[in-house]
């Protein structure tokens, strides 16, 4: 399953780091961050609990850039 989230991030470099961080998060098969549209598209692993995974994604993104934000529904 794939879902798109709104994000807030300041620089292209930070966006690339967020992408790396999100990709490495448990439960995420693949993640793409678009700095230009401020969107993060996350492909979840089968059977993953979406809300819990996204909390982890937000946490690991914060670790690489503490100004960033991932808006969860």
């Amino acid at each position: 399953m794939t879902k798109t989230y709104k994000i807030e991030v300041d620089c292209a470099h930070c966006a690339a780091e967020m992408e790396q961080a999100a990709k490495k998060t448990e439960g995420v098969r693949d993640a793409v961050v678009s700095f230009m549209t401020l969107r993060m598209t996350v492909e979840f692993e089968d059977g993953a609990d979406e809300a819990a995974v996204m909390k982890r994604v937000r946490k690991s993104c914060r670790r690489v850039d503490d100004d960033c934000e991932v808006y969860l529904p």
Binding site: A12, H13, S34, M36, T37, T41
Partner: protein, 644 residues
Amino acid sequence: MTRKQRRNLLRILLSLCLLAVCVTLDRTGLLARAGRAATPLAYLVPYLVVGWDVLRRAVRGIVRLRPFDENFLMAVATVGALALGEYAEAAAVMIFYQTGEWFQSWAIGRSRRNIAALMDLRPQVARRLLPGGEEEEVAPEEVAPGETIVVRPGDKVPLDGIVESGTSTLDTSALTGESLPLEAGVGTEVMGGFVNLTGTLAVRVTKPFGQSAVAAILELVENAAARKSKHENFVTSFARVYTPVVCGAALALALLPPLVSLTLGAAPLWQTWLYRALTFLVISCPCALVISIPLSFFAALGGAGRAGILIKGSVCVEALSRVRCVAMDKTGTVTAGAFAVTEIEPYGMDERRLLMLCAHAECDSTHPLALCARAAWGEPIDRSRVTDVREHGGHGVTARVDGLAVAVGNAALMRQLGVELPRPDDGATVMHAAADGVYAGRLTFADSVKAEAAPALSDLRRAGVRRLVLLTGDGEGAARQVGEALGFDEVRAGLLPGDKVRAVEEMIAREEAAGSRGQVAFVGDGINDAPVLTRADVGFAMGAVGSDAAIEAADVVLTNDDPRRVAVSILLARKCMRIVRENIALALVVKALCLALGAAGAAGMWYAVIADVGVMVAAVLNALRALRVRAVCPSAKTDRKETT
């Protein structure tokens, strides 16, 4: 301007003023008299006001063992300058750097707004009509086909459907690029993304939200920036290698020359070389490149989107810029997809009389060809002249017109009536007529060529397309006529959908065999040609807002059916690639020059940072040029108002 941008602008201006005060006090000697620590402390104020966040991020980078970013470069360079006693310089460098950052964020915000306008398409809510006549607000995804929704004036139509009751005017421009509003009444098909302007409508939903055109377009726009081109990936990998290399080079510049001097017995000049190394670091900041390349693509996607050209990502921009071969589908692409009389061949009477007989005999028929015949006649039909109308299902009509026994229909009808045809049918769509059992002539029908088709082809030639091919499932005769009239290089008729794929594959193979990097584009109206759209290097779905499969298969979606947009897309892509190449060249050349001058000691840190911010601003402004579609092709209509 966002709140953050305003705050940062204030910080920059404030520290600029503070720096001016410091410099004045310094010049007049007041600071020196106030004590030894006064000078560095005074300069630290503007330095910290403008640069504290850079320092914080640099420290955090080091703590996390991933130090090599712009913040690190700037922190090392300015702290080094402070240590060398170049206080004013340290503060100024930081101010310039932050000015550059601010400008960047402004430029990105500007082009982001273009994409945001497209994203506004997303309908937020659907009003589902409950059996009791009440309405319930739900997410568009929750409404199933067959249910009825209510669309009030000012609402966005959330889902595709058919109007059940009510009349209204709808703004379709966001989806179709058409500036004329649509008048909708009972039975009109409406699509998600239209904006209801005047009256309340009840709409029976025909498709779930996920299959609607608006969902496919949103998906395309939102993911466009994710499909990165070679150039963008180049920039990312470049930055990853570049910064460590430059830091190493700076370290070598600080250490090696003094050490060499020492071994040779000369003065080491530690300070001079350290300063040069710091200058080197400031210059090396790769921001001009890192920001302007993705920004160019983004601006191009945004600008094109505003002109009704939706491009699926910067990979497609790259391919689009190299299109050398265009294959076009005939029906719906170069022709309007509607029939019209193209030839009148009377036998033993004049053309008007033949048309009059056909039009009157067919006065009640709803057959498409009958409609065309009446349109060709052009005058009102006098029904009192027509009697004894009999429909011969699938063959034609017989009637008495002014008392004359008239038969109008296909060859089979003529045979049935024992009328001999002067020559057999040649595959074209024709209507025969007989009067009193004698052959009276025939009308030939063909799909009418769009008025924009001829200019579209000449635009394509001017855009550097070398080969234009017409592909069609229609018969040879009609296809050749259209193809030759418009100046196609090759016409392939009688093709099944699978044959079209093979034709496009042949074209691709030919380009490859010729050793060129030219790309093959296919332009179709998206009906039944998803396989070809996928197979071509660049697939254009034209006016395809009706079909989500076509939008998914295509690389470029044109929101209206004007074939001239194909050339506009190609020109826009070319312009974007030119800008990208200019920016890469500009950044690399200026940087290399400054690095050399800095290393040699000919350029100080001031020059370095001015060059750095200067190149960045120039590159970003250059990138923003890609937003402007009108400059590419003046004939391209950009109906949507300019975002200011």
